[in-house]
């Protein structure tokens, strides 16, 4: 607390007024807007979730009835299963893919920076754009994917019209949209590994797999953990891609918990219950993050940076 603060407050005071210290002046506007738009709404949601509502109106205090209703609603549980399937299947594909691409982009390649640009490209696309591009690629009447399947199997499946097909398509599209973020992080981690480590392992007769297992992997493990958490939360909270590609359908087969918040709130207009489900999702997010901080701590050597 400090001389700097004292110094700041002593700085050429304007006539006719006491001055606030610089940190207060500098922090107040940012803190105010974040409070208004991010923190206050959480408490507002908490209040709403305890009321029976009609449109945006609070009708009567019902205690935990909205939470109980969610618990007893089979749609909540099937949405939870969809969230789990969606996140787990996406992770199972995205982690090896992004790691493989990071290793590839780290290797000596011709035109390496151009290749990197191409491979990272999906990163800039919004989930809406991704959904539209893929809706067209997967189009059952004119799309190239259906045509390729038609050529090899003789049938023309309408992927997005069947519950399983829609989930498979959604996972593939999700992986395509999200691997660049993971690849960027892993590439940065792989690049920090000193080349001498690989060379000496090579001299000692380690093959490519052993070099990955005993040199690369231990060095990137913390980053891999960060990627795992980031993607898990991203997938668990994802709304836009699912909503714009499948709308949660067919037959609610791709309706995850996060998508359900949007539908309960703005399609059924049951905003008390929507707020309750949104809070449940927030709690899961924080619990997961806390768990991750605890798991990661021992492997974080510096801590300070």
């Amino acid at each position: 607390m400090s001389t700097m603060v004292a110094f700041a407050s002593a700085d050429s005071a304007p006539p006719g007024g006491a001055r606030l210290p610089l940190p207060v002046v500098f922090l107040a506007p940012a803190v105010a807007i974040v409070f208004l738009v991010s923190i206050y709404p959480v408490f507002d949601a908490l209040g709403l979730s305890l009321f029976r509502t009609r449109y945006a109106e609070k009708l009567e205090f019902v205690g935990l009835a909205n939470y109980v209703a969610l618990w007893n609603d089979p749609a909540t549980w099937s949405a939870a299963v969809h969230s789990l399937v969606y996140a787990a299947a996406s992770l199972a594909l995205a982690i090896p893919l992004s790691l493989g691409l990071a290793l590839l982009l780290d290797a000596k390649l011709p035109m390496r920076s151009t290749v990197r640009t191409f491979v990272i490209l999906p990163w800039v696309m919004s989930q809406t754009v991704v959904a539209l591009l893929w809706a067209w690629i997967l189009n059952a009447d004119f799309g190239p994917v259906v045509w390729a399947i038609h050529q090899t199997t003789g049938s023309r499946p309408a992927m997005l019209a069947s519950p399983i097909g829609a989930m498979v398509a959604l996972v593939v599209v999700n992986v395509w949209a999200s691997y660049p973020q993971a690849t960027l992080l892993l590439l940065a981690a792989v690049q920090t590994i000193p080349k001498e480590l690989h060379e000496s392992a090579h001299v000692d007769g380690a093959n490519a797999f052993q070099r990955f297992r005993y040199v690369t992997f231990p060095q990137i493990k913390p980053t891999l953990a960060v990627v795992l958490i980031q993607l898990t939360l991203l997938y668990f909270n994802m709304v836009t891609l699912i909503f714009t590609l499948t709308g949660g359908g067919p037959l609610a087969s791709t309706e995850t918990l996060a998508v359900r918040v949007l539908k309960v709130s703005f399609e059924d207009w049951n905003i008390g219950r929507g707020a309750a489900l949104g809070l449940v999702i927030t709690v899961v997010n924080f619990a997961f993050s806390a768990f991750y901080v605890r798991v990661l701590k021992p492997s974080d050597p510096g801590g300070a940076s």
Partner: protein
């Protein structure tokens, strides 16, 4: 490296590029195909007579230019405002010690972890109550607030790297803390400001949910919701839809190319991590 291994690497690289860029290339080719060829089966890769007719239709006969203008305004204003708020907050956190600082920093980090979907309903209510529902201003305020936590963390890192000696020297020369910040520290942190601006710009331009929740009229729609509205119409014209999609991508591709240099050097990691 053996020739066989080399060939395998090149094959893998090509496959990766096709996988990453293929969907966009397919959309791009569709957008310049004549309408009859768009709906040909089996699908044809290359346009027989490329034309920009779909782009002309989207730009002249749909409301897309309005969405585009709205998105440009909302993105520019919210990015500028959130940067202005965040540089000050970040500097205060990077350079000064005060009671409750670590609690405040934790709170800022925690707010960036609140999933947007959880507070859409309260934000909708708040915008109705304050009369900001269905206005660009309402969306600007929400996006500004959503950008601030990430920007504060990013910029704090940049300010911490500005050498303290420089500031001390300026202070000895009689420079007060406010002038010191605006005339000396801020110009040095310019690369950080640019990186932050681009990250924030992509986040705002690409977001669907706020535009979907806080704007109801066609005149206030942003690009992502506008695109979605195209597809939910009956009888989608895929040529036009792909043209609109390509148009929507132009600003972010542009931002991406500016950022290229950092990406290639792997330096974005810190920023991506937030």
């Amino acid at each position: 490296m053996t020739p066989g291994r080399n060939a395998a690497m090149i094959g893998l690289t090509l496959a990766a590029c096709v996988f990453a860029a293929g969907p966009l290339v397919w959309g791009l080719l569709t957008s310049i195909k004549p309408a009859t060829q768009v709906v040909a089966y089996p699908p044809q890769l290359l346009p027989t007579s490329p034309s920009l007719e779909h782009y002309a239709t989207v730009w002249q006969q749909s409301n897309f230019p309005v969405y585009f203008r709205n998105s440009l305004i909302v993105t520019a204003v919210s990015v500028a405002t959130s940067l202005a708020l965040a540089v000050h907050a970040a500097y205060a956190l990077a350079r000064f010690d005060f009671r409750g600082k670590s609690a405040l920093m934790f709170a800022i980090l925690a707010t960036s972890m609140i999933p947007g979907i959880a507070i859409l309903v309260p934000l909708y209510n708040l915008s109705v109550k304050t009369g900001l529902y269905n206005s660009l201003a309402g969306m600007v305020i929400v996006y500004t607030a959503w950008n601030v936590p990430l920007l504060v963390w990013l910029l704090k890192g940049f300010f911490e790297k500005v050498p303290r000696e420089l500031e001390e020297a300026a202070q000895i020369d009689g420079c007060g803390p406010f002038r010191l910040f605006y005339l000396i520290v801020l110009p040095i942190a310019r690369p950080g400001l640019l990186a932050g601006a681009i990250m924030a710009m992509m986040a705002v331009w690409n977001d669907f949910l706020i535009g979907y929740t806080l704007a109801v009229s066609d005149q206030k729609r942003l690009v992502p919701y506008g695109l979605y509205a195209f597809i939910s119409n009956i009888g989608i014209d895929w040529g036009q839809l792909m043209a609109a999609t390509v148009l929507a991508l132009i600003p972010v591709i542009f931002a991406f190319l500016i950022m290229q240099k950092w990406l290639v050097q792997g330096l974005m990691a810190g920023a991506v991590k937030g």
